[in-house]
Symmetry: C2
Amino acid sequence: MTGDPVGTHRVLEPLGALPQAAERLDTDPAIRDDEVRVRVQRLNLDAASFRQLAEKHGGDGAAVRAEVLEIVSNRGKMHNPVTGSGGMLVGTVEEVGEGSPLGLAVGDRIATLVSLTLTPLAIEDDLASWDGLTEQVPADGYAILFGRSIAAKLPDDLPMPLALAVMDVCGAPALTERHVRRYDDPVVVVIGGAGKSGSLCLAAARRAGARRTLAVVPHRAEAELLEPTGLADQVLVCDARDPVALRDAVAAAGGPADLTIVCVDVPGCEGGAILATAVGGTVIFFSMATSFTAAALGAEGLAADVTMIVGNGYVPGHADLALDLVRTDAGVRGLFERRLADG
Amino acid sequence: MTGDPVGTHRVLEPLGALPQAAERLDTDPAIRDDEVRVRVQRLNLDAASFRQLAEKHGGDGAAVRAEVLEIVSNRGKMHNPVTGSGGMLVGTVEEVGEGSPLGLAVGDRIATLVSLTLTPLAIEDDLASWDGLTEQVPADGYAILFGRSIAAKLPDDLPMPLALAVMDVCGAPALTERHVRRYDDPVVVVIGGAGKSGSLCLAAARRAGARRTLAVVPHRAEAELLEPTGLADQVLVCDARDPVALRDAVAAAGGPADLTIVCVDVPGCEGGAILATAVGGTVIFFSMATSFTAAALGAEGLAADVTMIVGNGYVPGHADLALDLVRTDAGVRGLFERRLADG
């Protein structure tokens, strides 16, 4: 029997919901023709979810562990009901349905790139190896992937923490590359250029043919981190929440931008991103702090004919593209390794 | 002296803010080189703003009028501090700076297409002709347009209420036309096809070359309104908040869509719009009820390679395009006239 590609056949309640919106999923280990079962080795809890649990329990790791077990047991997925967020998992492919389109084989070591909030999950070891004090959760159990799930094989040549950190933000450089290619020799501005997704976007933009790359960072310390990497032609220290200051700084550095990419999770960057962008240009918002109405009404109020894109974390081939950037660009790799070392 | 094109020179506090974000604007009637002063005849308050004021004052029109006067006097603009919304105005051009790029001449009758939340405004008649009971506010006073403001000349051949209703939503059909032209013979789905912006989008899509247009409406009564107009090749009665139902209904009617346009102000339509759209397709969200995170995380969770666009209300030529659709398409005009008659 073939499943629904987006997994609605695994939804127990409310019926008709998508797995992410569902209260409870079916974790039957028997897979449908287009499903894959994965033996889980590790969960990476979403940072917001782990923080909420740790704060609620005042740092009591045993209580955090008990609540994670309770959530997974009740919901059939690791979907924090307070934060609404999940995380990702690492495991080994255990069984592949003959109709699965994911291209996986038994024994492949993979990370899931869709959220734990929509992934059927059963824990079988009571999380006995986890102290409840870190986002990284050693675990034994299994998870189910649907026909349209996304999983990436873990590379052999990169340390796992580095590979996971790269895959966590791999949608941004892939979408950046696609939009850079739509322009001839564009000027690309990356707001938050010293961050993980920002540095990957800078590298992707240059490789895709950007004529000039500008990075915007909030203070001098970030600029000093980014400048030696050479990822940006110029690094601008500017508060991206100040639209006029951002517009003027970008204009003075060779702008306006043909493509502006917002990679900082700070509210209030919509107006500046719009104003820094040329007529006919594009703004891609990857920040989850983006306000839809601020973007829509802001562009209208500024009479700005710019295309505004909701940053979609899924682009075919995104994991391979991002991993390749980290392999080949020492600047990006250095920034990632430094951020991993800083915790 | 030339102003800043987006009007920051008129911001009194906080300094450096854009006019929309400002607490208070400068209403000095003396214009800069690139500004235009308009003699105001009527304000059209945003529906949400008027409703909030009417409810607050329990239907006491005099109290509503007093509060509108107080807001305009304190802020130098009609920017409801509770709802954050404004409205538009109708007036006659009184003075045009020699460097104004808006193409207006003294005596032109115009409507502003940028929000009152960013338009310097002074009221000079104490709104004496207004009873405080309607969104339409007869007024005497003046307003200032900046270099990048948007104003449209009122057409002579259409009744003013019809022209204003069309101009209020004119960004949607213009952006629809642009994106339809990016595909060859696309299938276009309009969610909320019987509404004002939805019907204009259907007409614009067909004129721009859509192979097949599908309208989604929430109940049979809306379908019966829309079907006789012939604006859609097929009208689907479906709850757009039910992603699987919407996907299946669109698929059965000739989908998936190359372009899906969301025109209903109802939360929770993101997943359905994404699922109804083909790989490589585009979703344009015009609904102010759109959740940025629901769209971004929804597409990622569904492994949907679709381009998601924040509906920008400004596209050059948008008012002329929409007015022309109403002039030439009896179906659209009939729907608008019926909605205006229903109040």
